[in-house]
């Protein structure tokens, strides 16, 4: 079965997940992001690639930060951006997800940027568009449930490539709540696609999914052991609600065992970089002195994120896209 994000010619139709994204497309996006990074540093930060296109930010789950980065990326491509905070509008009135989509299609949308609390929601939308013969409308997954956050995964790969170049020689550790993390799943899929040298996953058993071995990951439950000689540390955000449902006893114990402190980071390679998708829980999964320290690339990640999202949008819907 072909992946629903590719069209019959193998071109990118939607960006739904990095799991199933061909290596050459992934690299193409990273390459395309480079010149956009220059655009974002110019005085006039606009290119006309998406002029006249309507991009709908459809956030069924609140996220100011991600929505804003997509909005900035679309505006720098000269698109018209419409922000819909759906979590507070139609669905609470009982309208179904696909009803909402149908309505927006009728408003001649060109692209949906979708955030949803349920894994797979963007796939449902993409399938629906195909059934309706509306394949010209693109879907970009801005995070669905625990499954995927592909633009975050892409910007993370961009960041690693920027600082470290060759993936095959790297040891990368993903630390924290992998079970509930769409960011982790996207990172892990992309790292596998790019042929990372060694992938480690570190966390307590309550926060790791079964069968991590299928991703080629080495599993650690001891942060000190797991961090030894790694090149890249990718921290995950710990949601506050994890203290409920008997997943963790306390923030304090989590910090003591799995929080990134300067002393634990010292076990990694001296030139290791520290990444985090944000927002940070300082003093829980990461200490301020690490987050703000010399090895942190957390803020560059944000800058790269705009360029990567511009690359994705222009690849999907830009003038002469994928010609």
């Amino acid at each position: 079965m072909s992946h629903p994000q590719l069209d019959e010619h193998g071109r990118l139709q939607h960006l739904l997940s990095l799991d199933g994204l061909p290596r050459e497309v992934l690299l193409q996006i990273l390459d395309m992001a480079e010149p956009f990074l220059e655009v974002t540093e110019r005085e006039v930060k606009k290119v006309p690639l998406l002029r006249g296109k309507s991009v709908f930010n459809l956030f069924f789950e609140n996220s100011t930060r991600t929505r804003t980065t997509f909005e900035i990326a679309a505006k720098r491509l000269s698109a018209d951006v419409i922000n819909l905070n759906v979590s507070t509008s139609s669905t609470t009135k009982g309208e179904s997800l696909l009803d909402t989509i149908d309505n927006l299609c009728a408003m001649n949308a060109d692209m949906f940027v979708v955030r949803h609390a349920s894994s797979g929601a963007p796939f449902l939308i993409a399938r629906h568009l195909r059934e309706r013969g509306l394949e010209h409308i693109h879907v970009v997954n801005a995070g669905d449930g625990r499954y995927a956050h592909p633009t975050q995964g892409l910007l993370d790969m961009y960041t690693i490539r920027h600082y470290k170049k060759d993936f095959s020689r790297l040891t990368v550790a993903v630390v924290g709540d992998v079970l509930h993390s769409r960011v982790a799943r996207s990172e892990i899929a992309a790292l596998a696609t790019l042929g990372v040298g060694e992938l480690r996953v570190i966390g307590p058993k309550t926060l790791l999914p079964v069968g991590l071995e299928q991703f080629g990951a080495r599993v650690f439950h001891d942060l000190r052991q797991g961090l030894r000689d790694v090149d890249v540390v990718m921290m995950l955000r710990l949601q506050n609600e994890r203290m409920k449902g008997a997943l963790l006893p306390s923030k304090e114990e989590y910090h003591q065992r799995f929080g990134l402190t300067p002393e634990k980071l010292a076990l990694a390679k001296p030139d290791a970089i520290v990444m985090h998708p944000g927002p940070l829980n300082r003093g829980i999964e990461i200490d301020s002195s690490v987050a703000d320290g010399p090895q942190s690339v957390i803020l560059p990640q944000v800058t790269f994120g705009i360029a990567v999202r511009m690359a994705v949008m222009s690849l999907l819907a830009g003038q002469g896209a994928q010609a």
Binding site: S96, G145, P209
Partner: protein, 425 residues
């Protein structure tokens, strides 16, 4: 009324036997076989090239009435049943309201009999409202035709309530039919806690959800002597528990759904909500073990776990979608596919959907083709291949992960008490 079915390949799962002969029917019962030139039939059914077997008995099919008529109706689903060669349907009590009082059961039986299609055997609710708190009037429910007491897939969390319910059912030697599922472990999940759920970020239902619940059911059955039937097992790990219980002489039986013999977690693909079923589709290892267990007779019957769900309830993200798959019309082809995979002959293939469920229900005159048996019959073409599409299914439930797939074995005609109730032109 005397009927001759001419030139058929008679397959009798009870005698493990196949024979090319005419089947003779009088007054709704099988009276013999052979050329019998002196048998004068009022009606002759030409069945050359077709298999004639006992009508299939499906031990778990939701007919959705009362209460869920927007999903399916008694008329639509019983039509689908006979279209699938099924002449008896055991239907679980999770209707709305649940089948927890005699009047509801009588109404259901009356309405289904009036349709004159497949026979309906209701399972009464074990507890009022399926809530697991107060006992239903089990003896009265049995008097009005309930073949067992059960909870559909609803678990009784409180072990004391379950213990009492088993004791009370055992008082009247009433069988109890339940699904083994720990309510807490199942609550958060929507897919097998395995490689696919891990990859897709779907909340998992671990295998121990079933084994823990099964162990509890078996121990309570041991303590009370109740006759226990465990519905649609899903995991390999449950099989040793079941084998041990049977070996120790417990009166316990089990079923597996045909879908679980055909599909695994991988059929979820890219979030196909049609593959969202309860219990979840598990790994290939589980699937293979279940298939082996049916062949060995450890699992007694194959059911359809027919659960028609409306499109709206499936057109939402996976975890939010309503679990269930349509199954009545796929019971025969999927059972045949299971048997082909294992190199079984037709008589062995059909046993888990004819003879064995008849034995489970205590029906001496059903599930076989012997003289005196009720002439509930299924005539099918074992070679015919057909594509599963919404249009090819009579059920109002079009939801199955097999949509678009081609299956083999198609029912051509179905008889209930010697009377044709379905024929495909």
């Amino acid at each position: 009324m005397r009927v001759r079915i001419r030139g058929a390949r008679l397959v009798d799962p009870r005698r493990r036997q196949e024979e090319l002969a005419d089947l003779l029917i009088a007054d709704g019962r099988i009276v013999g076989r052979g050329p019998a030139p002196d048998f004068h039939a009022d009606q002759t059914i030409e069945a050359e090239g077709l298999v004639v077997c006992p009508g299939l008995i499906d031990t778990f099919a939701r007919l959705r009435e009362p209460g869920f008529e927007y999903r399916a109706t008694l008329a639509s689903e019983l039509k689908a049943a006979v279209g699938g060669g099924i002449t008896r349907v055991v239907t679980p009590p999770d209707t709305d309201p649940p089948l927890d009082e005699a009047g509801l059961v009588e109404m259901l039986r009356f309405r289904s009999e009036a349709l004159g299609l497949a026979r309906v055997h209701p399972v009464g609710a074990l507890t009022l409202g399926l809530k697991g708190e107060r006992l239903s009037e089990m003896a009265l429910l049995s008097e009005v035709g309930c073949v067992a007491l059960g909870q559909a897939d609803v678990s009784i969390a409180d072990s004391l309530s379950l213990f009492r319910a088993f004791q009370y059912a055992a008082t009247f030697d009433l069988p109890v039919w339940l699904t083994a599922s720990d309510p807490w472990l199942a609550a958060a999940g929507c897919a097998h806690d395995g490689e696919v759920a891990a990859r897709l970020g779907l909340p998992g239902i671990p295998t121990c959800t079933e084994t823990i619940a099964l162990a509890r059911l078996l121990e309570l059955a041991r303590a009370t002597g109740v006759r226990l039937h465990v519905q649609h097992l899903s995991s390999a790990a449950s099989l040793p528990l079941l084998a041990q219980a049977k070996a120790s002489g417990l009166p316990v039986s089990a079923s597996v759904s045909a879908l679980h013999l055909a599909c695994s977690e991988h059929d979820i693909g890219h979030f196909d909500t049609n593959a969202h079923v309860i219990p979840p589709l598990r790994s290939q290892v589980d699937r293979a073990a279940l298939a082996q267990a049916v062949a060995e007779g450890l699992i007694d019957v194959i059911d359809s776990n027919h659960t028609p769900v409306d499109d709206d309830a499936k057109s939402v993200p996976f975890a939010e979608s309503e679990p269930g798959a349509t199954g009545l019309e796929l019971l025969l082809p999927l059972t045949l596919a299971w048997a082909r995979e294992r190199g079984l002959d037709l008589a062995a293939a059909l046993a888990p959907i004819t003879e064995r469920p008849a034995r489970l229900l205590g029906l001496a005159d059903a599930g076989h083709l012997g003289e005196g048996a009720v002439a509930d019959l299924c005539l099918f073409d074992p070679q015919a291949r057909w594509q599963v599409t919404p249009e090819s299914l009579a059920s109002l439930g079009k939801n199955t992960p097999l949509l678009g797939k081609t299956v083999q074995g198609r029912v051509v005609a179905t008889l209930v008490a010697g009377r044709p109730v379905f024929s495909r032109c």
